[in-house]
Symmetry: C2
Subunit: 234 residues, 2 copies
């Protein structure tokens, strides 16, 4: 009955590391990181599960390869203008990279793909650091600003991705959010319930949310670079 046909043996060189990573990324973006499994990927490729292990030591190594593929392929935009405008463009581009590749973002954020980055993956970081160093900030502030920007970008993208796992799910999640706000007792949380509509729409517009926060950070950086503003403590 359900006796699955034993699957014809795949031709000798039908596989390659690149092809595996291709399909893996497709599967990840399509079904999500939870649904990904070596068996599923192998089936997708029309191949036995263990065939994958000829090219990758294990799942984590495959994940690293997928991460490096995406980060290595990515090219930061050519920017011009003042350093803060360029930073804004760079960061926004990173944000879009991450939200466009939710599964890769999760690989990064959830530590499924630890380990050294490929050299090419650091191009954007290089740009960011260069701009910060040329902005008038001292070295320590520049380093911390870089950390702030990348942390904020990843954090925001992660939030955005969590909000709408699948494409069409956004409205469903928004509905859930609305109910969550509605469930709050207005006496205990007056400000929260009062601002609920705005909070909901803000949450729905992830990119607007991100650019808003990015604007705040850049504003702070300008102040700091001009050094006519009290430096944030320590």
């Amino acid at each position: 009955m359900s006796q699955s046909v034993p699957r014809r043996r795949a031709p000798r060189n039908s596989l390659s590391a690149e092809l595996i990573v291709d399909r893996a990324l497709a599967l990840l973006d399509q079904k999500g990181i939870e649904a990904f499994s070596m068996r599923a990927l192998a089936e997708e490729l029309g191949v036995g599960t263990m065939a994958l292990y000829t090219y990758f030591r294990g799942k984590e190594e495959l994940f690293r390869a997928a991460r490096d593929r995406v980060l290595g392929t990515y090219q930061p935009p050519c920017t011009s203008g003042s350093w803060d405008e360029q930073l804004r463009a760079l960061c926004l581009s990173m944000y879009e990279l991450f939200t466009g590749r939710p599964s890769v973002l999760q690989l990064l954020a959830e530590g499924k793909a630890e380990g050294d980055f490929a050299d090419a993956a650091s191009v954007t970081m290089e740009q960011v650091v260069k701009l910060l160093c040329g902005s008038g900030l001292d070295r320590q502030a520049a380093a911390r600003a870089a950390g702030t920007l990348i942390g904020f970008t990843i954090g925001s993208a992660l939030r955005q991705v969590r909000e709408c796992d699948e494409e069409g799910q956004m409205t469903a999640k928004a509905e859930l959010l609305r109910r969550r706000f509605a469930a709050l007792s207005p006496e205990r949380h007056p400000a929260l319930t009062d601002l609920a509509p705005e909070l909901t729409v803000a949450r729905e517009d992830g990119e607007g949310q991100y650019t808003f926060g990015l604007g705040l950070i850049l504003c702070g950086l300008r102040e700091l670079a001009g050094s006519d503003c009290a430096a944030p403590q320590s």
Copy 2:
């Protein structure tokens, strides 16, 4: 030989939802979210695995309960001072809550504990929103600022947690980071290699990193509230 003794049946009412959550949190904080399993938790409690299912529908419900326990127990600090100083204190306190309970943070960030929050869990958010509303920002800006602050806080805490999973591992990770920087080709990444020392120390001091970024955001918010600064685009 390895015939494990079948474990004496546990006395009739030796279990409770609270006790289970207690041990679950202990296990999570101790061994990490990866090592957690229903079987391990049950063994820790000296109880059969399926006993847990009399109190929780499944693992996710247990995670939700653990999350609500931590978030519900937490009390935001009593603050005083200007709205931005209070916001700083509140956010810093949240940051410390999260970094002090890495596993709960991961539950939140990785979506292992989706679903409605307990009412008590929203106290901090209520405070944040209240302060923002009283700061002079318009409603939409206040809503977005709230999102920015919470996103940045969670993102930063997540970064910090990733950096040192176990207590003593920080130095090891720092070493790894150092090697990662050393592996970069100085020609392709001049700014990055130049700033490597500062980037490394910044990364090691997660809290300093966080307060720096928080300062930037608050600076931006002050500008925006005083409305003598161009509002960040859209």
